[in-house]
Amino acid sequence: MFNKIHDNIFRALNSDFLYSFKHSPVAIVSFIVALTLVLGAVLAPFYAPHNPFDPATLNLMNGFSAPMKPNQFTGEVFLLGTDDQGRDVFSTILYGMRISLFVGFAAVTFAMVLGVSLGLIAGYVGGWLDALMMRIADVQLTFPGILVAMLIFGIAKGFTPIDQRDQMAIWVLIIAIGLSEWVQVARVVRGATLVEKNKEYVQAARLNGRRSGGILIGHILPNVLGSVLVIATISLALAIIAEATLSFLGVGAPPTKPSLGTLIRIGQGYLFSGEWWILLFPAVTLLALALSVNLLGDWLRDALNPKLK
């Protein structure tokens, strides 16, 4: 199996792939921007000027400092200014991005695991199981993903005891977004499985007496990895936007653990009073993140799998 995956990765990284990357300025710029943001977020604890989750480091007197200007009371200077509670905007963005990215990656991983396994099973086993899963998928697809995510969030919130709602919010968010995105993955994987399972090599493996599980993982899975990678990248952009949207609407990350969406929600309140930096910087960060991942996904789709277009 690993040989097979290795082969696939090797094939994917062959000269065509690199050639296409080197000759796509959009892909290069997107990659650099996305990588910078992800690294910036992951490494935040090592270099962020403040820890916005630690109330001890906050000084309310620092509130509403403009970017690069000394605060009128304390004289401290903040790169991107501070918010109403005196939190350093630069640091809240870095930590907010950690939450946004964590939710995004976790939700996509959840959606991929669920979608790939259900898709493989539905495609390989067929019959009523397949029919049932696809009907569920159809019903879910009738509704936009964000609405499904909101609904799941609302229901899950109802199940959570009131005093734990804030702590659980992040996990609920991951489940809600993941569940709203599994359908696309399952459909593609199922389609690919249906094609692969009738090919000679799978028939041969079956005649050789290999077990279904072995065939699924050893033969069919490696062949659908390319498509899954493309969907995963595009789903990541969608998940980041979905998380930001839900948090912006106040049904996502709690104010105590603000993601980029929560920060924008807070910032919107100061739109009319002139503290533009509280809104602008998180918004620009979200935009750069969503756009770069999205463009990267688009490019990946064209480069890896022209058939998906």
Binding site: P144, L147, A244, T245, F248, V251, L271, L291, N294
Partner: protein, 325 residues
């Protein structure tokens, strides 16, 4: 065609029943409705009385049946948070959402189709390329950021348009409209653009892709070889053939508009059902969530049904199937 329509209707009913089951399960299993109704101080007798009053002592299928019966009549019980009948609350707020969705859909369709045709016909011109690049950014932009950007430009900086609410409304008895006052019309501009922009880009991209596809077909080549004018080829032949897939997508987009109205309504504090729904989620107001879910499902399903039936009006090949059964 009749057989097809009946089959589609049957499928729609199944979707509604499934959604109904979800909504019903929310009522029964999420939180404890008895808790929600009674609050902290209560006796066992109270609990029992409310259980019987809510029908919770009856078997599951009977409860589901009663729920559906109520749903058909528009009876979704009483909002946990506002203490008023859900149907009444929704009826008050629905006109705001429908007016917003209507204006956005009209904007999205008109500009989406027009720009789609333009970018397909002038596919290598600089204007078309610029529009296409912008649309790519537009698709990646979260709706709420577009809304905030528009508020910043037109409400904060320029001060031309209002950034929240519906403006003055006129009460027609059963419908409160913002279309009849100047402030109402001004108030709908920004939310409608925000809501319609994403759908417009999608419609534009689909129209463009379909149009390019159709322009490559043999019958378009043949139409050109017959010496028909560009106008006749592009608008007479190509556009009509483009319309079939475009109608599907547009139909589904109209459904999305109603769903995405949730976001726009929150940004602009537009007093519609979307804002109601978001607040219901925040405060776990299950009856409102369930009612909203049913309402939007009925809308989605009917839109899909209408879209399917519209095909017949456009494509004669489908009409033929009626003779084949």
């Amino acid at each position: 065609m009749l057989a097809f329509a009946i089959r589609r209707m049957f499928q729609s009913i199944i979707v509604l029943l499934v959604v109904g089951l979800v909504a019903f399960s929310m009522f029964n299993f999420v939180g404890d409705p008895v808790d929600s109704m009674l609050g902290q101080e209560r006796t066992d007798a109270d609990v029992e009385r409310v259980r019987i009053q809510l029908g919770l002592d009856q078997p599951f299928p009977v409860q589901y049946y009663k729920f559906l019966q109520g749903a058909v009549k528009g009876d979704f019980g009483i909002s946990y948070r506002q203490g008023r009948p859900v149907s009444q609350i929704i009826a008050e707020r629905l006109p705001a959402t429908l007016e917003l969705a209507f204006v956005s859909a009209v904007l999205a369709i008109i500009f989406g189709v027009a720009l789609g045709i333009f970018t397909a016909i002038r596919r290598n011109g600089w204007a078309a390329n610029t529009i296409m690049s912008l649309s790519l950014i537009g698709v990646s932009l979260p709706t709420f950021l577009i809304g905030i950007l528009l508020i910043y430009i037109f409400a904060v900086e320029l001060g031309w348009l209002s950034s929240f609410g519906r403006g003055d409304v006129v009460d027609l008895g059963w419908w409160r409209t913002g279309f009849l006052t100047k402030s109402g019309l001004l108030a709908i501009i920004l939310p409608a653009i925000t809501l319609g922009l994403y759908q417009m880009t999608l419609i534009m991209r689909i129209v463009r892709a379909e149009m390019l596809e159709v322009l490559r077909t043999d019958y378009i080549k043949f139409a050109r070889a017959r010496g028909l004018s560009k106008r006749a080829v592009n608008f007479g032949h190509a556009l009509k053939n483009t319309m079939v897939p475009v109608i599907t997508v547009t139909g589904m987009q109209i459904g999305s508009i109603i769903a995405f109205a949730i976001i726009t309504e929150t940004v602009f504090q537009w007093p519609g059902v979307g804002l109601l729904f978001i607040n219901a989620i925040r405060f776990v107001d299950i009856p409102i969530m369930a009612a909203y879910l049913m309402l939007i499902s009925v809308m989605f399903v009917s839109i899909n049904l209408i879209v399917d039936l519209l095909y017949f009006a456009i494509d004669p090949r489908l009409r033929l199937d009626k003779t084949k059964g």
